[in-house]
């Protein structure tokens, strides 16, 4: 197939119908298929097999929603925040003697009366939000795409009128947007009962720096999206996954507005139904293909990852990044070294309650003053280096009022996001320097436990009221504190010893890009260890334990994690003796400082 019978980009549904027709003629039977894919996915996958084709598809966000047209192809990049279960729809129906399909659309193409024969199929509903804590640089600028897109549609003279209509529509949606940004969340808050928790948070974060943790979806430019998934195994997409969905946009403000069906007695039911569906103002995306996003995908336009092949490259970038980090940390070389290892950590295995690969860092000897200098600088630096960062001020008030853990609101039948509902790989800064002695109430105790549990086991408890569910979460946690934090017991504790305050460096965009790419690449490297070195490691660990009996398994485990990070920071996939010794040396220096 292929051919110009349809345009995948502007008329994806045409493509769907076309291939449906093809499939029918080659023996596809809608009556027994249960709506299984008839080749649409392959068609689109083929069409979008390379990155450049994908980049043609506009990304749906709060700015592009104003100009993208319904029933065209869009991309949505976000985190799966909630799963709304399955939806049954009339997938195929007989129009006369020919089958028609409603797959990938909300409405039927031929809105005639009930057809004599319909097939009910199912699809999954995912409620997605932009990734919480996502940083500026991860966003694609869609301005050029917009122009291109408008050009594209402009070529079709006949569509002119539609574009105009779209313009007015977009104005509509502008006004709608105020409601849109918060709408589902406002609703939740209202039903929350203890709404003070999330609301009182807003003024409080005022004295904290701008980037302070806000509930993920209340930031101004967040656009949620209801994604409808077809033909994808359930295990494929999990809660909190960061995914790019490519599919047909249906965004019709009129949809769902007309809720009064005939007959009074259906009302209460549809009411019950509608609460669980997000408001009609949330755009719908009928997903054709999707892929999980890695940091690399956000590094648009750069093909650096291929250049990062040689060890020399790794070394160079590592050096420049280390220089940058050391500068930021007032020439504290050890701190910079540990910070780099920390930034490369990720959970790569779980055995029981042990999350292997986590490496949280606690920088001590920081107070309010030094925080305002180093903390802020570091925070900004991390924001420019990592895709998702958040910072949480650990104050009594915050802990007592914030809603960190996600909660299920059965009033709306939705999962109310908490600050700790985050995508894997999110970096969290916990600032304990502001913490004063005081009493934690039950919320505070719960929040402290959540944070501690996240730190120790990399798990967050989601509150489903009648029971709790632990979700594995992979977060890098950096703690600033005055003394060693016993509330947040980190893997590595290091007294921070800056020797000078360096002026803020200006980073060239290319350099920043290279660093991001470096961090992302290193993080994704696989890692192993040779047989001989394994023996060396074992011997060293035994020796370490023989000399210092206070070393527990956690300490030994940490050493190995550090070794792994050290190794990947040089772009190597097998541990070398040199790197192992570097780690031991680093650990020795750290221990020395602790004395």
């Amino acid at each position: 197939m292929g051919g110009p019978a349809y345009d995948c980009l502007t008329n994806p549904l045409g493509a769907v119908r076309f291939s449906f027709g093809n499939a029918l003629s080659s023996g596809y039977d809608p009556a027994s298929s249960h709506g299984k894919d008839w080749g649409v996915v392959d068609l689109f996958r083929h069409y979008f097999s390379d990155e450049s084709a994908i980049s043609q598809v506009p990304i749906l966000d709060s700015s592009s929603i104003k100009w993208v047209q319904p029933n065209t192809l869009v991309r949505f990049r976000g985190m799966i925040q909630d799963m709304l279960g399955n939806e049954f729809y009339a997938g195929a129906y007989k129009d006369g003697s020919t089958w028609r399909t409603n797959k990938y659309s909300d409405v039927s193409q031929f809105p005639d009366g009930p057809s004599s024969e319909t097939q009910v199929w199912e699809r999954r509903l995912l409620y997605c939000v932009p990734v919480p804590g996502r940083n500026q640089w991860t966003e694609c600028s869609s301005i050029e795409l917009k122009n291109r897109f408008l050009d594209l549609t402009g070529q079709n003279r006949e569509k002119r009128a539609r574009v105009d209509e779209e313009m007015t529509d977009s104005m509509d949606s502008n006004t709608l947007e105020a409601g849109l940004n918060g709408s589902p969340f406002k609703k939740m808050k209202a039903g929350e009962g203890t709404s003070s928790a999330s609301e009182s948070q807003v003024p409080r974060t005022d004295n904290a720096p701008q980037s302070s943790a806000l509930p993920p979806a209340t930031s101004t430019d967040s656009l949620p999206c209801l994604v409808k998934i077809y033909d994808s195994p359930e295990s494929d997409l999990k809660l909190n996954d960061v995914v790019e969905f490519l599919g047909v946009l249906t965004f019709d403000p009129n949809t769902m507005m007309d809720m009064d069906s005939p007959g009074d007695n259906t009302d209460d039911f549809s009411e019950a139904e509608s609460v669980q569906r997000p408001s009609g103002k949330v755009p719908r995306l009928h997903c054709l293909i999707h892929r999980k996003l890695e940091t690399q995908h956000f590094l648009h336009g750069s093909s650096l990852s291929t250049e990062l092949k040689s060890p020399q490259m790794f070394k160079e970038i590592r050096e420049s990044l280390m220089k940058h980090l050391t500068g930021l940390l007032g020439n504290d070389h050890i701190a910079a070294e540990l910070l780099l290892l920390h930034l490369l950590s990720k959970v790569h295995g779980r055995v029981d309650n042990v999350a292997v690969g986590k490496l949280s860092l606690n920088l001590t000897h920081l107070n309010k003053e030094s925080m305002s200098i180093f903390g802020t600088q570091l925070r900004d630096a991390l924001k420019s280096l990592l895709p998702f960062t958040q910072s949480i001020p650990l104050t009594i008030e915050y802990l007592n009022t914030a809603s960190l853990g996600p909660k299920k609101d059965y009033g709306t039948n939705r999962l109310v996001p908490g600050v700790l509902q985050i995508a894997d790989g999110t970096h969290l800064i916990l600032d304990e320097t502001e913490l004063q002695p005081g009493t934690l109430n039950s919320v505070g105790v719960e929040n402290a436990n959540l944070l501690k549990n996240l730190l120790e086991c990399q798990k967050v408890e989601y509150d489903f009221q009648y029971y709790k569910m632990e979700m594995a979460t992979d977060a890098q946690m950096l703690i600033f504190s005055e003394g060693k934090s016993n509330i947040m017991p980190a893997d590595m504790v290091l007294p921070f010893q800056p020797s000078q305050v360096n002026p803020l460096q200006v980073i060239a965009p290319e350099t920043a890009q290279a660093w991001r790419c470096y961090l992302a690449t290193c993080k994704s490297l696989s890692h192993s260890i040779g047989q001989e070195l394994q023996q060396v490691l074992e011997n060293d660990l035994v020796a370490a334990r023989q000399t210092d009996r206070s070393l527990g398994s956690q300490d030994l485990s940490r050493l190995l994690t550090m070794a792994r990070m050290m190794s990947v920071s040089y772009g190597e996939t097998t541990l070398s003796l040199e790197h192992w010794q570097m780690v031991l040396e680093l650990e020795r220096l750290r221990k020395e400082r602790l004395k």
Binding site: G438, E482, V542
Partner: protein, 855 residues
């Protein structure tokens, strides 16, 4: 059942004898039906939601004579779920009344003959007997006839029918019922009505059938479009229920012009057709009819949302929900939080998305039957009864058959005890006996309340004492993870009461500590206290106070429910399981039925084997003696262990981590196994076991009277007996055995001995000395130490000069042995060393390696 309806035989007599022969007939009826032609076309997909089948089944007109003959009743059938029929079924109903036996009617789109189904149901209702009813009951009426009578007696409205019974009697009927529930149930209702009216002609209510206990239940997640219109059963938890909605069933209209009241108009396909004109011939005014609310008939309706139970949620998913529609008596049958098993018909209705587009279906379950998951809460006094506490995520999940079977199988395995022990904290090696002890704690013993008011706890308390870095805390945390009701707290600081905690900051270092003093623990959990010895550090100045405040703080931690108990117990939390706290003039007795798992570090940085447990951890003996098992976990600098640890950690990081775990139960299985056992297994002592217990105890006591000892050493106290019983009960529980066997007791003795040997062994005599626990120093040890020291002093004085030549310890030992006399047991070199140490600390002599010098 027979007593319920004694007149049964007279009434039903004739039909009963033929029962045995008739059961196969039910089957044969349906088979020839496939040959017959299909006559009636019925759509079985209702597109309207408003009137689902159960209410419309009710909608069989009242005007039907109660004595409805089968044929008459069947003619009512179209008024049943067929309200959405495309071609009105009544149209070809015409000749049917007369020809009811000759030409069969079929369920639309199938070859299921209505007559066949009907007679099969009749057979079933009239003749089904439970298998356990013996053959001499042949003349008694069947199970369901009895319940029909009962319903008539109490003027009930429904009959519960166990789907298993249907299957047992007629699998074919069962299959039809599950596949075409709307039609079959409608027929079922009609059959019931017929039978009811044949028994009591004046019975006016409509009796409905409620099917429950389907053979297979689905999970919410697996519902798919092919289940629509099928009978399904699933489990879940109610998360929300609507208010009760009145739904109109019969409407009465009145003419505004002439005041004529119409006959009740029955809801049809979710709609009431308002008469366009007055029905009175004299009036016939147009658009004059108005609804008279208080003469209409309404039925209750409720919409409930059901969420799947946590164990069905796959990793990385959120729970699914489904709507339930409840009618009439089912309304308010469950409240949010209840776990239910629902049987119903899965249905879909069209949601209006836009003005003209109807593609989305919303689904719901039309409930036929709701069964609440049994929460058999026995007397609240028994700590074991509600012990669902060991479930991690959820407390009352009913174990399904499959799981149960798996557990049964597991429990039958000969090495289940070892296996369970292996599964416990597989990341921590060795400490096998400690793990076994912990396992006993998890399973627990039986609590006993005597009529006299004395009660014996069933909980097992364990104390782990040991060197830092011996994964005590990890063990504690692991147990805590297993036991959600339990709490984990660190002994460091316990000030605030209630759910709060205090953030303290060290003014010098700026270290922050969360003093989570008194977290509330619900009863019957395991209370894990880390750094037990650090508890109420400040109050250590007075031993008494320490003891009291320590108990008090435990009490605060443990206590959860106030009990209006007049008698004021002493603060013996762990023994009496209640505690009284005098606060603000109110003496409250709190329930504290908790197992305590505590761990303590030695007061020195390392455990000093020369000192007793009590000296090592500075805990009051009164408290220490409450622990059933005290384990010493000493970190012997053993390269072998270290190597294993190193190997394991390296493997954890660089190899497939899973391989590290050999054949062990995963944590969820373990928890549910434990909770099932705690809930359902209550072992008793067998005679043999009791005998062994007595024998062993006596032996243990005897061990104290070693030859020549001037003072009797207490090797066992009655407290140990209790511990032993608890331990052996727990051991029996692990095997799901209702009887404590001899080997359980033996193992309990072994466990106790191992624990005591570590903590209460008198190093001098090698025997267990409870004085070590009770007073801190063994009786013999005190004596012996004194003798030895004085002997050495004597020898030294005799043989050595101040500043003179040194003497080897071995020589000293020889001398001592020669000296003999007043030392009745064998002396070892290490004893000598110890004694020499004491003398050295007195400044009497100095040691140089293996030699001593007198100063």
């Amino acid at each position: 059942m027979a007593s319920d309806s004694p007149p049964a035989n007279t009434n039903d007599g004739p039909s009963s004898p033929g029962e045995n022969a008739s059961s196969p007939i039910g089957n044969t009826y349906s088979s020839p039906s496939s040959l017959r032609s299909r006559r009636r076309a019925r759509s079985s997909t209702p597109s309207q939601f408003a009137t689902p089948p159960p209410p419309s089944r009710l909608g069989v007109p009242n005007s039907t004579p109660p004595t409805s003959r089968p044929s008459a009743a069947r003619s009512n059938r179209p008024a049943t779920p067929s309200h959405t029929d495309e071609p009105p079924p009544s149209s070809d109903d015409g000749g049917e009344d007369g020809a009811d036996d000759a030409t069969p009617t079929f369920v639309w789109g199938t070859n299921i003959s209505v007559q066949d189904v009907k007679s099969a149901i009749e057979m079933f209702v009239k003749h089904f007997r439970e298998a356990k009813e013996s053959s001499d009951d042949l003349f008694r009426e069947g199970k369901y006839m009895a319940s029909i009578r009962k319903v008539i007696e109490i003027e009930g409205e429904w009959i519960d029918v166990d789907a298993y019974d249907v299957f047992d009697y007629d699998p074919d009927l069962y299959n039809k019922m599950v596949r075409y529930p709307l039609e079959v149930l409608a027929i079922f209702d009609i059959v019931l009505m017929d039978i009811v009216s044949s028994i009591d002609r004046l019975f006016e209510k409509h009796v409905q059938v409620r099917i429950f206990n389907l053979r297979s239940s689905t999970s919410m997640r697996n519902l798919n479009p092919s289940d629509i219109e099928k009978m399904i059963s699933l489990k879940g938890m109610i998360i929300r229920s609507s208010s009760i909605i009145p739904e109109i069933r019969e409407a009465v209209f009145r003419c505004l012009v002439c005041g004529y009241f119409s006959d009740p108009i029955i809801v049809d396909r979710g709609k009431i057709s308002e008469p366009p004109t007055c029905l009175k011939q004299e009036c016939l005014a147009k658009n004059s009819m108005t609804l008279v609310h208080n003469r209409c008939r309404f039925a209750d309706k409720q919409i409930v949302r059901l969420q799947e139970t946590p164990d069905e949620i796959p990793e990385g998913g959120t729970p699914h929900t489904v709507s339930l529609l409840l009618h009439d008596k089912l309304v308010d049958n469950g409240k949010p939080g209840d776990r239910i098993e629902v049987t119903g018909i899965y249905r879909a209705m069209t949601v209006r998305v836009g003005p003209a587009h109807r593609t989305v279906k919303s689904t719901y379950i039309d409930c036929l039957h709701i069964k609440k998951a049994s929460k058999t809460r026995m007397a609240a006094e028994d700590p074991m009864d509600v012990d669902n506490s060991l479930r991690r995520v959820d407390e009352d999940v009913e174990l399904d058959e499959e799981k149960l079977k798996k557990f049964e199988e597991l429990s039958k395995q000969p090495d289940i005890y070892e296996k369970l022990a292996r599964s416990l904290a597989p990341n921590i090696w060795e400490l096998d006996d400690v793990k076994k002890g912990l396992l006993c704690q998890l399973f627990g013993g039986n609590a006993l309340n005597l009529a006299s008011g004395a009660n014996f706890r069933g909980d097992i308390n364990i104390l782990l004492v040991g060197d830092p870095g011996t994964s005590k805390s990890q063990l504690l945390q692991y147990i805590h993870k297993l036991s959600p009701r339990g709490i984990y707290t660190s002994g460091r600081g316990s000030s605030a009461v209630g759910l709060t905690a205090y953030v303290a900051k060290d003014p010098e270092t700026g270290e922050t500590v969360l003093e989570s003093g008194a977290l509330v623990l619900s009863d019957r959990g395991i209370c894990c206290i880390d750094e037990f010895d650090k508890m109420s550090d400040s109050a250590r100045s007075m031993l008494h106070e320490v003891c009291y405040s320590l108990l008090l703080s435990i009490a605060q931690i443990i206590a959860c429910s106030f009990q209006a108990d007049e008698h004021c117990c002493s603060a013996q939390v762990m023994e009496q399981q209640t505690v009284s706290i005098a606060k603000a003039g109110i003496i409250a007795s709190l329930n504290a039925r908790t197992s305590v798992l505590a761990c303590a570090n030695p007061s020195g940085s390392r455990y000093n084997p020369r000192l007793s447990v009590i000296e090592n951890i500075h805990l009051p003996p009164t408290l220490l003696s409450r622990f059933d098992l005290i384990y010493l976990i000493l970190d012997k600098p053993d390269e072998q262990t270290d190597r294993r640890l190193a190997k394991h950690i390296v493997a954890l990081h660089f190899e497939n981590a899973e391989s590290a775990q050999e054949e062990a139960l995963d944590i969820t299985t373990l928890t549910s196994y434990v909770s099932y056992a705690r809930k359902n297994i209550h072992p008793k002592l067998s005679d043999e076991a009791a005998e062994e217990l007595t024998r062993g105890y006596v032996e243990l006591r005897k061990a104290g009277k070693f030859a020549g000892s001037s003072k009797k050493v207490i090797t066992a106290t009655p407290r140990q007996i209790e511990s032993l019983i608890r331990l052996s009960e727990a051991l029996a529980r692990m095997r799901f055995s209702e009887w404590v066997e001899k080997h359980d007791v033996e193992e309990a003795f072994r466990l106790l001995r191992v624990a005591m040997q570590q903590s209460a062994t008198d190093h001098a005599t090698g025997t267990i000395d409870m004085d070590l626990i009770n007073t801190g120093v063994s009786a013999s040890e005190r004596m012996r130490r004194d003798i030895l020291v004085s002997s050495i002093r004597d020898i030294t004085l005799e043989k050595m000069q101040i500043g003179g030549s040194a003497m080897r310890l071995s020589e000293l030992l020889e001398e001592l042995k020669k000296h003999g006399g007043n030392i009745n047991t064998e002396i070892h070199l290490h004893d000598v060393r110890k004694a020499v140490g004491t003398l050295a600390s007195e400044g009497f002599l100095v040691t140089e390696g293996d030699r001593i010098k007198r100063i």
